[in-house]
Structures are given as structure tokens and as C-alpha cells.
Amino acid sequence: MRLFRLAAVFAVAAAGLCVSASPSDAYTVYVSNEKGNSLTVIDSDTLQVLTTIPVGQRPRGIMLSKDDKTVLICASDSNTVQVLDVDTRQIVAELPSGPDPELLNIHPSGSPIYIANEDDNLLTVIDLNTKEVLAEISVGVEPEGVGVSPDGKTVVVTSETTNMAHFIDTETYEITDNVLVGTRPRFAEFTADGEQLWVTSEVAGTTTVIDAKTREIIKVIEFELPGVQQIYIQPVGVRVSRDRTKAFVALGPANHVAVIDAKTFEVEDYLLVGKRVWQLAFTPDQKLLFATNGNSNDVSVIDVPNLKVTKSIPTGVAPWGVTISRN
């Protein structure tokens, strides 16, 4: 640990010396390669791979810290959450996540972070500054998706075998509501206005929209793709645009991203991407959407205003998660 602290000092020093010369609309895209044990770093402007960074074993869920200075990486088989300094591109810390972390999310204030431990039916809460475990909350079997409300008052974790979205009070760490959703819920995304929670169900093949206040189900969205058998429609990643006009759902082995009118919940289009499309991330200006394709080892770039897939960029082996920096 001491070594990491030392590295962190160097990292800060190095960052001080660096001067970023990239234009304002160029963002940095980080993709975790589950089998490659690495992150692929992509420039969102040139759409070129900048570098590949070796990380821990089986990196899956990744997320930039709120200050964009570090990437938090669930290194599932290393049983830790690694902290990558984006300037030095070195791992500078490892957080006591508990076993097999898969997905995480961050409180709007920048800390704490919430980590789903699939093996232990726990949601682990860690102070990002002190790196101390603040709480371990017992939830349903195989917790996975973690959503945090924009006001920071509620964290939601989905449990894949219990098939629920558990609403947890971030002050008391108590579960206040349990909402049954479709089988194998994978991902939970609050809308930017905090009014809705979108939950994808991989095995049921549906996406459930929940009223974040009443915790009642508003809509269960179903998908239908000509030529694709229903069982292969397996929703995983979901993102809702900031103005809540469009939602995008990655359909796994159906190899398409569904485009949904987020007001009427009608599915408007299906965009063909790579094989087994998994997670999604917008660029900060929401002009581009990146989709990870686990079985074709690439990411698809979607032009959001025109709803077109414009490019496919090769990554490491089995890309899983994606997060995009403001700079």
C-alpha cells in the first residue's frame, strides 16, 4: 500500500508537469477488456486507440471518478477495485471492495463508492478518500447493477437471481423498497432528472422503467427484432439521454442497440453493432455513444443525433465496460 501512496505522489507531480493540448470536444474513452486484463484508451475525436494499459484480472465495471482524475476498475478475479491515475496511466491504489466486484457507482459528491459483490450478496460502501469500508449491506442473490440517484439520497442495486431492484437509503444504509423486475436484472440507470430508474433484465429480455418516487413500475419495455429469436434478446447496458428524449439499450447476443423514445417508451429503431453488445457510455456532449462488443473485440461508435453506427474500433479481448472522461 505504501508503494501505491508513493506512486500517487509521483502521479500528482507528473500531472502537474503535463499540459493537455487536446481540443475541447476531444474526450478520452476507457474500455475494460474482460479477458485481456487491460484497458483500451481511445480518443473520441480521432477515434484512434491511444494506448492499452495492463490492469488486474478480469476487469469489468469501470467508472471515472467525479473529478475525472482516476478510473475505478472492478478487477473481478483480483477481488479488488483498482484506481488508475489517468495522467500517469498507472494503478495508484487498490480498494478493499470485497470478493468479485462487478459493477460500481459513485455518489454525486465524489464519495463514497458503491460496489456490487456478486459472490457475497453484498453492496459494499467505500469512502474513496480514506479507502475505508463504511458499510456492507446485505441484498438479494448476485447483486450486479448499481444506480445512484442524482440527489445522492438513494442507491439502487439489482440482484440477478433474486430479480429485484433494492432501493437503499444512502444515509441509513437501510433497504426501503424492493421492486420485482424481469429475470436477471443487470444494470440500473437513474434519469438525469432523478424521476425514473431504468433497469434491464437480461434473461427476461425486457427493460423496466420505475417511478423513482413512488417506486411503482411505470412500464415494461419489450423488444422484437425480425430474424432474431426472442431468447437472444438479452438487454444489459442502458443509457438515457440527459434531456430524457432517447434511451439506448444494448441487447447482448442480439447484436443490436435498441433506440427508445424515452417519453412514450416506444422502441424506434435497432442499430446493428458488434457481437454480444454489453455496456454503453455517452460522450459528455452526448453526441456519441460507445458500445462494447464482447465477442467481436471492438467498440461501436454511434452518432446519437443521426442514430447511425459510424465506426468500429478494435479493442483488447472481450471488451466489457466503458467510461468517458470530459478531457
Binding site: 468479485d100 438479494g140 437471481t161 433497504i175 426501503t176 424492493n178
Partner: protein, 413 residues
């Protein structure tokens, strides 16, 4: 190895103790909003009936059956159900009746039924399963066949009060056959044992060959009587026997063995006259679960199971896990602990279960068989999962495995 597992187990208990979720229990939260559970915790009693049978010692000591085979799978599913039950005010119990060789299985089932068990997992030979099903015919009792693979139980002998989580021999042979044909290993030399159960598997292999365009170049029977597993120099003898036994066969791509008692099959790989892969009941096998299967979230299942039982998860464990989870899923979805709604939900079109197989698993309405992808595996690693690409079906590709609706001869009694 044992010490390491104990260590992990202890750590698990410690973790549970540390987080002991007093304020998070369902009682303190009131009923969940969507599960419609009452304030009282509702009890679902599940039975597990295991009929012990006399079996030969496996040729490999690696394959000696653990004493809790199947039972451990049911127990961990029970724990999964009860974790969910915290949030739905439902509690599940599992009571095990073990019937000794020659014991009265029907009496054991009656004991379970009289003490309120409406859902009973059965690990018993086909004949016993039928006796059990007939003994509780017309009662509010649902049996889950977790082990018997006989096709007849899903065809002319099918019973309305039985659902099958064990794949049948036709599904297993079809799954393997699809993979062999996908590999373009279409010429099969079939080597068969002399027992009735070998004939059943043989029929499934012949059917698979016919369905998927393979040809059986010869069927050759292994006639020697079973021998003691070990002798001090036995391997030398086998090394001479097996090449001779497989000598002079017509050209073939793969040797398919039908030897369910494992009297000689496991001796075939690497000892055949022609250098050909071995598949069937030995070598490359079709199965519902493999201890090294790690796709589709299975890693978590394997980890949980190993921590819980201190051994690897085997097919029978997974088949029992599915049965108990099906009951739990139906109870949580219907908000009921009663027989009728749970039974109806499991059989209905809303039911689906995530079973780490890459797609939902459901029960076929025409014969009560669980439709599920089948793993094709060698000893150490899975090789593939069937159905294979290109074997098409009008509704669900997984229904290319086993007896499809148009071929079904099941008229539920």
C-alpha cells in the same frame, strides 16, 4: 485442498456475522411493494427424496459420487430462495428423506406429503419415480425428476404431476450429435455395452444420427463381463484389449460409445486402434452442467457452491438447484406459498429462470421437460454448448434438442 476450503468457509461465516443485517430484515421493512406478501412470513416446505441404489464402483476414483450429490445443489438453492424470501416474507425449508436400497420410497413420499410438502424433488430410478408419481396422483403434489434420464418418462410413460429438470437421453444425444456434425465428424463407429440402459442411449444416438445427417458405419458390442476396477497390473491388459476390440472398423471420424454403466467406455480414449476421438458416455460428453463451466455468470454459481459444499458442482447438483429455484421464483412472482398458484406459474408462459446457460430455461408444456442448452465437455473443460449454430427451429433453437412437440407421445395421465 480441504484445509483451503474450510478456511474459505470460515471466512464466509465471518462475513455473514459481521454484516448481520438486523435492520434490513423484511419484518422491519414491511412487505415489499410488488410481491404482495402478507405481514406474516409464509412457509414453503420442499421435500427431497433420494432412493439409494446399488451401483458399481466407477472405473476412475475421481468419479466416485459424493454422498450429498444433488442434495447440496438443493440446499444452496434453498439458501438463494431464503435470501430472496427476506424481501418477500417467504421462508423455504428443505427436508430430506433418504430411502435405503430396497426401502419403501412410496412410504417415504407419503411421510413428506403428510407433513405438508407439496413440492418434492425425486432422485430415484425411473421405475421408482413412476411408482411415486402414481401414488400421489390427483393430490396437490408436484414432483421434480432431478436425475432419471429415460426418454420414456417424457413419452408414453409421462405423468402430469412430474416436471423433469434432468435432461433426457435424447437431449444429451442430440446435443452431442449436433456438435459432432458441426465438426464434420459425420461417420460414427458406435461401440455399445450389453445392458438395457445402453440400448436406450443407443436408440437416442441412432435418432440423433438420422436427424442431423450423420451415419453409423458399424455398431459393435462389448461383451465382456464387468471386472474389478483395480488389479495390480490391469492397465497393461487394457492397453492390449482396447486396440484389438476397436480393430478393423470401417472408416470413421469419431467413436461413439454407449456404456452407461461405465464398464469399459472410460478405457477407450487414447487406446483405440484408429487414432480417433471418443465421445458419448466417455470422452467428449453431453451434460447439463460441468464444474469448469464459467460462462453467463456461472462463475458465481460455481464459487458459491464450492464455498458451501467444499466440492465441485456436478450435473445432479445443478438439476436439483433448478428445481428448488423454480419453486422459489414462482413463490416470489405469485406472492404465494400455496401449491396451486406456484404449480400454475411454473407451468405457465410467464415463467422463466436464469440458470447460467445463456438463455432462460422453461418447461416444455407437452412433456414437462426443462428446455435447456446442453454443455459438451471433455474431462477438464467445456468444449461447446448446444444447440449448435445452423440447427434451426421455427420457435426456439433449444427445442432442436430432444423430443419436440410434433413427435411427443406424451398424453399426461
Amino acid at each position: 485442498m480441504a484445509a483451503a476450503w474450510q478456511c474459505i468457509l470460515a471466512a464466509g461465516f465471518l462475513a455473514v456475522a459481521l454484516v448481520s443485517p438486523g435492520p434490513l430484515l423484511a419484518d422491519d421493512n414491511g412487505p415489499p411493494r410488488t410481491a404482495k406478501a402478507s405481514e406474516e412470513t409464509a412457509l414453503v416446505s420442499i421435500g427431497y427424496l433420494k432412493q439409494d441404489v446399488e451401483e458399481p464402483i466407477p472405473l476412475s476414483r475421481l468419479n466416485v459420487k459424493p454422498d450429498d450429490l444433488g442434495i447440496a445443489g438443493a440446499k444452496i438453492a434453498l439458501r438463494d430462495n431464503n435470501t430472496t424470501g427476506q424481501f418477500t416474507n417467504q421462508q423455504f425449508t428443505l427436508d430430506i428423506e433418504r430411502v435405503p436400497v430396497g426401502g419403501d420410497a412410496v412410504a417415504a413420499l407419503q411421510t413428506l406429503v403428510q407433513s405438508g410438502h407439496r413440492f418434492v424433488l425425486v432422485d430415484a430410478p425411473a421405475k421408482t419415480l413412476l411408482e411415486l408419481a402414481d401414488a400421489v396422483k390427483g393430490q396437490d403434489v408436484l414432483l421434480f425428476n432431478v436425475s432419471a434420464p429415460e426418454v420414456s418418462l417424457r413419452q408414453e410413460q409421462c405423468r402430469a404431476n412430474v416436471l423433469h429438470t434432468a435432461p433426457d437421453l435424447a437431449m444429451l444425444a442430440d446435443a452431442l450429435g449436433q456438435y459432432l456434425v458441426w465438426k464434420k465428424w459425420q461417420r460414427w463407429l458406435v461401440v455399445k455395452g450389453a445392458y438395457p440402459e445402453d440400448r436406450q442411449y443407443l436408440e437416442a444416438v441412432r435418432r440423433a444420427a438420422k436427424r442431423f445427417g450423420a451415419s453409423i458405419v458399424e455398431e459393435r458390442e462389448y461383451e465382456s463381463a464387468p471386472q474389478a476396477r483395480r488389479s495390480d497390473t490391469g492397465q497393461q491388459l487394457i492397453q492390449l484389449q482396447m486396440p484389438v476390440f476397436t480393430q478393423g472398423a470401417p472408416s470413421h471420424d469419431v467413436l461413439v460409445v454407449a456404456d452407461r454403466r461405465e464398464i469399459f467406455g472410460p478405457y477407450l480414449p487414447f487406446r483405440t486402434w484408429d487414432p480417433r476421438p471418443v465421445a458419448g458416455t466417455a470422452g467428449l460428453k453431453a451434460m447439463s452442467w460441468h464444474p469448469a463451466h464459467e460462462q453467463w455468470g456461472a462463475t458465481q454459481m460455481q464459487n458459491r457452491f464450492q464455498r458451501f459444499s467444499g466440492r465441485f458442482m456436478q450435473p445432479l447438483d445443478h438439476q436439483a438447484w433448478i428445481a428448488v429455484r423454480a419453486i422459489g421464483e414462482a413463490a416470489s412472482r405469485t406472492g404465494s406459498a400455496e401449491y396451486a398458484p406456484i404449480n400454475a406459474y411454473i407451468r405457465g408462459d410467464k415463467f422463466d429462470l436464469a440458470a447460467f446457460k445463456g438463455q432462460k430455461v422453461t418447461f416444455r408444456e407437452w412433456d414437462g421437460q426443462l428446455r435447456q442448452p446442453i454443455i459438451i465437455a471433455g474431462t477438464e473443460l467445456p468444449v461447446s454448448v448446444s444447440p449448435q449454430k445452423g440447427f434451426l427451429h421455427e420457435r426456439e433453437e433449444v427445442d432442436t434438442l430432444g423430443i419436440d412437440a410434433p413427435e411427443s407421445r406424451c398424453a399426461f395421465q
